[in-house]
Amino acid sequence: MKVLVTVKEVAEVGDDFAIEGTDIAEGDLEYDLNEWDDYAIEAGVQLAEAGVADEVVALTIGPERSEETIRMALAKGADRAVRVWDDAIEDAFLDVETKVGLLEAIVDEEEPDLVLSGVQAADDAFGATGVALADRIGFEHAAVVNDLDLDADAGVANVRRELEGGVEELTEVDMPAVLTVQTGLNEPRYASLRGIRQAQRKEIATRDLADIGLSPADVDGALTVTEMYEPESESDAEIIEGDAGEAAGRLTEVLREKGVDA
């Protein structure tokens, strides 16, 4: 069985940041492996270790910079990686439909039996790519999975879907399937030194639009960012000033007024 894990390098804004037009100033962004995808990689690697999966392939849509992140997936045990990028993508806003088109092309090449993606990307937080991809490639799916028990012989994945308010739904999903992985599904490993060394020798294949039979028109999505700004505060928080001792003193007063430890 082949497992394909979609992996995104997400941008995080630092404590101080500036907005330039409809973007965050490039210098104010830090990049990291999407938290949800870390759990998806771990799930794939555990299937390989259990002898259920023969190969785990990481797939990303991202610029050259994101190879650093995809190497993390390789260091944690993915066998190889595919990175899709093109100059034409650079200028586009990657909406869900556009990403699905790019991911589909690689699914067609790789023919996985199981696709693991994250519930959401921490930066854009569309929370939609996995389920939309499933529809496009004709796979079954389950969103927000926090427990997975794969019965490869029966061709089903028994999953728990984490609903709101501490309720879990137990569902039997036909394979092939796309599962969107929720944090807490497992304990993602840290990359070992050996893993990091091995990752240097693993393949990251790169594909541009021409390689996958698409044209720039295929990445011209329907969404355009027209504004970006800092949200207005809903409350008027009193920010307590002073050094730690002074601030704690004032906060203690406030808390006692509210009846704490009275």
């Binding site: 699905v100 939309a132 609903l163 309720v167 969404l223 409350s235 808390l255 009846g259």
Partner: protein, 319 residues
Amino acid sequence: MADPAVLAVAEHRRGELRDVSFELLTAGRELADAIGGELHVAVISGDVEAHADALNREGVDAIHTVPVGEEFDHTVYQGAVEELVDAHDPATVLFPNSVNGLDYAPAVAESLGVPLVTDAIDVAYDDELTVTREQYGSKVETTLAVEGDRYALTVRGGEWPAADGTGDAVVESFTVDVDPADSGARVQGYEEVGGGDVDIADADVLVSVGRGIEEEDNLELIFDLAEAMDATVSSSRPIVDNGWLPKNRQVGQSGKVVTPDVYLAIGISGAVQHVAGMKGAETIIAINTDPNAPIFDIADYGIVGDLFDVVPELIDDFE
């Protein structure tokens, strides 16, 4: 019946309509007015007649009841919505941005070939649809212009008020071809998680800890503070994901909703799914090193500072 500007799909679970269904009516009416047209509502599976009664509130023009199956099944919901869109041609299909909404709305959008915007917190229409949403862990808001003449939108819970009043919607039963027996994802049952040592929902004062605590061993500091303050310890999700605290301590969308007198958030950024569980607290206090952390947007008092400096001082003051 005219073609609707908006078709909103209600959500229910185990016999109960969820709050977001009534909020969808408000968002849907707003958008239908802006586009110019009717607001239709679809209610699929379960006791559709009773649900239709409850959803018949001011501003709703028509309700389509789809009596097939009992509980949410994404194959059924997707099939039913696609057949409804075929029959009634709405400009916008509106879904809740819930765990189940995100289990089928993206598939519907994909299969209809219409643009999808999720987790909308505001919508406007002026010849073109624009949607406001958050990015980068709620640190910025963006407005997106959406091309085309049909859209799929999921709306965030708690952003629009619930619709009220009594409506005079036409209620019509809608027969669909989709059969739950054919679903490739079959729901076997539900389980309630949680239980355990304490019920954080009962506490008057919660000291809540997030990823800013860095290491499991540092939790001791938080327990010391809670003891000094005579408070109960709760947490954000990563603390529970790491196995440092049991699941029944988690505040938020997938944990508990709490409404204590005082909620002291320590090293918690204030992600929307966390805030969903605590925004009803009487007094919210945040300690965070990041002055832009979204938790400060809903806090009444804040200290911009390092918890490892502030918390020991607080313990001293209370002891």
